[in-house]
Symmetry: C2
Subunit: 229 residues, 2 copies
C-alpha cells in the first residue's frame, strides 16, 4: 500500500516544511503568508494550510491577524529578551542532563553537526551553517533524553532564529564553533557543572552579539517629527 497515490503532503510534514522555511529565513519575519499560495506551493488543501498556520501561531512563529491573514512573526525587543532568558534556562538544564546521560553515539552526532557547521561556514553558506548550529543544539537535547524538555528547547530555538533574523548584529550571526567544542568535551567527560558553565558562556556570547538596545521598535510619529516642523 505504498504506491505513489499518496498525493499531497501529510499534515506533520507540512508543518515541518513551513517551520523549516521560517527557521532558516527563506520566509523572513514580517513576510505575508497567503493561504492559497501556500496551499499550492505545498500541494495541500487550504483547510490544512489553515490548520498548520493555526499551529504555528500557537508557537508564536506566525502571527494571525483576523481578516488580514498570516504573517511570519516579528519579535519585539522585549520579546527577544524573554526568549533569550527562557532559552538560557533550557539550554543550561539540557547541557547538564546531557553530561549526565549522553551515550557515545549521541556525542558522535554532536561532533558531526559541528563539523558540518564548520564546513558550511568555510564555504560561506551562512544559512546552512546556522541550520547546522541549531542541529547541534538539538543533538544535545536528544542526548538529554527528555522529549518534553527537547520540545521546549526546539520551540525556543525556532523563535531564536526569528530574533536573530531581526536583531543580529551586522555580520555576526550564528554560534562560535570554538564554544561548541568545549561544550562537547565537557558533556563527553560527563561533567555536568562544567557543561552547564560552558553552555552559559556560549549563550552569553550569542546574546551579546544581538543588537537589542538601539532599535526603536515603535516610534511615536508626533515625537519623532516635532522638532522638524
Amino acid at each position: 500500500m505504498d504506491r505513489p497515490k499518496r498525493r499531497a503532503t501529510r499534515p506533520e510534514a507540512l508543518l515541518e516544511k513551513l517551520r523549516a522555511a521560517i527557521e532558516d529565513g527563506r520566509l523572513p519575519p514580517g513576510a505575508r503568508l497567503p493561504e492559497e499560495k501556500l496551499a499550492r506551493a505545498l500541494d495541500a488543501s487550504r483547510a490544512r494550510v489553515r490548520e498548520v498556520l493555526s499551529l504555528l501561531a500557537n508557537e508564536r512563529l506566525v502571527e494571525l491577524q483576523t481578516n488580514r491573514g498570516a504573517f511570519v512573526a516579528k519579535p519585539t525587543v522585549e520579546e527577544a529578551r524573554h526568549i533569550c532568558e527562557a532559552r538560557l534556562m533550557a539550554e543550561r538544564t539540557t547541557a547538564r542532563l546531557a553530561a549526565e546521560r549522553a551515550t557515545p553515539d549521541a556525542v558522535r552526532k554532536m561532533r558531526e553537526m559541528v563539523a558540518e557547521e564548520q564546513i558550511a561556514w568555510d564555504s560561506d553558506d551562512v544559512r546552512n551553517a546556522v541550520a547546522k548550529s541549531r542541529g547541534f543544539h538539538r543533538a544535545i537535547a536528544e542526548a538529554a533524553a527528555n522529549p518534553v524538555l527537547a520540545d521546549i528547547l526546539a520551540s525556543l530555538l525556532s523563535r531564536s532564529a526569528l530574533t536573530q533574523a531581526v536583531y543580529a548584529a551586522r555580520g555576526a550571526a550564528g554560534c562560535l564553533c570554538h564554544d561548541h567544542s568545549a561544550l562537547i568535551d565537557a558533556i563527553e567527560a560527563g561533567d555536568p557543572d562544567t557543561a552547564e558553565a560552558a553552555m552559559k558562556t556560549h549563550m552569553d556570547n550569542i546574546i551579546s552579539r544581538l543588537d537589542l538596545e538601539p532599535l526603536a521598535q515603535e516610534v511615536d510619529i508626533e515625537d519623532a517629527l516635532r522638532d522638524t516642523l
Copy 2:
C-alpha cells in the same frame, strides 16, 4: 457594537474552556472527545472544535488518533517523569526571577491564591483547591515578568494536572500550603537563592507524592498470564 448578538464562543475562549475542563479533571485522562458533542456543548461549529483539538494535541493535552477521534491524553510513567523534570527546571527559574522582580501587587495576588486554596481545602473541595494551587504557581510566573517563560510553565502545569490525575498517590493530591507560604516569604524578601531553594523542596514534595514506580503501564499479556496457565 457590543450587542449580545455575539452568539457562540470565540476561538480562544473555546480553547480555554476545554483546557480548563481537562485541567481540573472534569474530562479525565483517556476520555473520548467526540467532535460533534463538543460542538454542541460549547456552542461552536465542528470546524472550530477540530481546530481547538488540533491545538490541544500540539500541547500534548489530547491525543489525536486518525479516523478514531480525540482523547484526553494519558501520560505514561516515562512521560510523567519527563514532565516533572522539565517543570522543576521551569519552576526554579521562575521562582528566582520572581524574587528579583516581584511587585507588592504580585505578592498580594500570591497570598490571595494561597488563602483561597486553604479555604477550598478546608471545605474538602479538592478540585477547586488544586485549581487555586495552579493559580498560585501561575501568579509566580506572572511576577517573573517573562511571558515566554510563563507560557512554558503554564503548559507544564496543565500536563502536570494530567499526571496527577493518573499517578497521584491515594488521598495526596495537590500542594502543601505550608511550602507555599515559605516560598512567598522568600520572594517578598527579594532573595532569589532562598526562593529557588524553597521551590525546589516544594517540587520535591510534589514529586515524592506521585506513584511513579509501581504502576505497570503496559503489560505483556503473555507474560502476565504465563504462570496462571
